[in-house]
């Protein structure tokens, strides 16, 4: 599996994603600089977390106009798997590849902690092979992860089965306390209609080895590898 990891000025989870692909899964990983206008020969692409361009203006707002993004949009439209993590998710939203927008966390604090996620869909690029309702533990680290969409569009999103992850309690129950950033309907991750583009606020790349406290995040990368192998 050949996986590209985008690098913007201010990306800071790029090396973690690279590490998981290359050293945990044994795939081929390469960094793709934001000024590139073409992507190398890739099976999948990761848009990593961080604070691209300082998150000036809005999170992800400047990054979406980076030269490389035109090629990313094309790559995604071809149906190739794209995973956006945290700031990467926000960039994909700004680029129009994923629905919704992020507001400040409901209590206006930066949150850095473990959360529990329930897998809502198993037909996406990063959740195939997982069990529906499975609960994964991984960290979040964001100030703006409060997912927002107007009610009618949320209804449509749910009908289309595009809500991929929700914040839940350890035993998989919805609970306002577990929805730490106040996201609409506790949405933690979504996909596009084609299910090849997935974004989530939590960090699977920071929870891919037991030494890091949880290896649950590894399952998302393994799912990505399965999609690539099947293609």
């Amino acid at each position: 599996m050949k996986v590209g990891v985008l690098v913007f000025p201010g990306s800071n989870c790029d090396h973690d994603a690279y590490h998981v692909v290359k050293h945990v899964l044994g795939g081929e990983a390469s960094f793709v600089w934001h000024r590139e206008t073409q992507l190398p020969d890739l099976d999948a692409l990761i848009v990593p977390g961080g604070f691209s361009y300082g998150d000036y203006l809005r999170t992800g707002a400047i990054a979406r106009f980076a030269p490389v993004m035109r090629a990313v949009v094309e790559f995604a439209r071809r149906g190739a798997p794209v995973l956006g993590i945290c700031n990467g998710f926000q960039i994909l939203q700004e680029a129009g590849l994923l629905p919704g927008a992020m507001l400040r966390n409901q209590h206006v604090r930066f949150l850095s902690q473990d959360v529990h996620l329930r897998v809502e869909r198993t037909d996406t690029a990063v959740t195939n092979g997982l069990a529906a309702g499975e609960v994964l533990t991984m960290p979040i680290a964001h100030g703006e992860g409060n997912f927002y969409l107007p009610e009618d569009e949320l209804d449509r999103l749910e009908q289309n089965g595009q809500v991929v992850f929700r914040y839940v309690t350890r035993d998989g129950r919805l609970d306002p306390e577990a929805n730490v950033n106040g996201s609409c309907r506790a949405v933690a991750g979504v996909c596009n209609e084609g299910r090849n583009v997935v974004g989530l606020m939590p960090h699977p790349e920071r929870a891919a080895e037991a030494e890091l406290g949880s290896a649950d995040g590894r399952k998302l990368f393994e799912a990505l590898a399965r999609v690539v192998t099947a293609a």
Partner: protein, 81 residues
């Protein structure tokens, strides 16, 4: 040279965590008459010599495409004399 100001605010229907926090802080300082606070931002923009019409069209485009996120925000353009 033309000057303009573009205001970007969260839509009325969108919860504003920052505005709410400021509102609560004002209340705790005793400003009981403050009923709501909504936070936003503005951009002071200088343009070259353009007709008012061209300036308005350019700023509408920039505000929609870059300065605001239409999912959560709305904007208002003000051409300054």
């Amino acid at each position: 040279m033309k000057k303009a100001r573009v205001y970007v605010t969260l839509k009325k229907s969108v919860f504003d965590p920052q505005g709410k926090t400021i509102h609560e802080a004002l209340h705790s300082l005793g400003y009981a008459d403050v009923q709501e606070v909504r936070q936003g931002k503005f951009f002071d923009i200088q343009l070259g010599e353009l007709t008012a019409e061209r300036a308005q069209a350019l700023l509408d485009e920039v505000a929609q495409r870059v300065l605001s996120n239409p999912v959560i925000e709305s904007y208002r353009v003000e051409l300054l004399p």
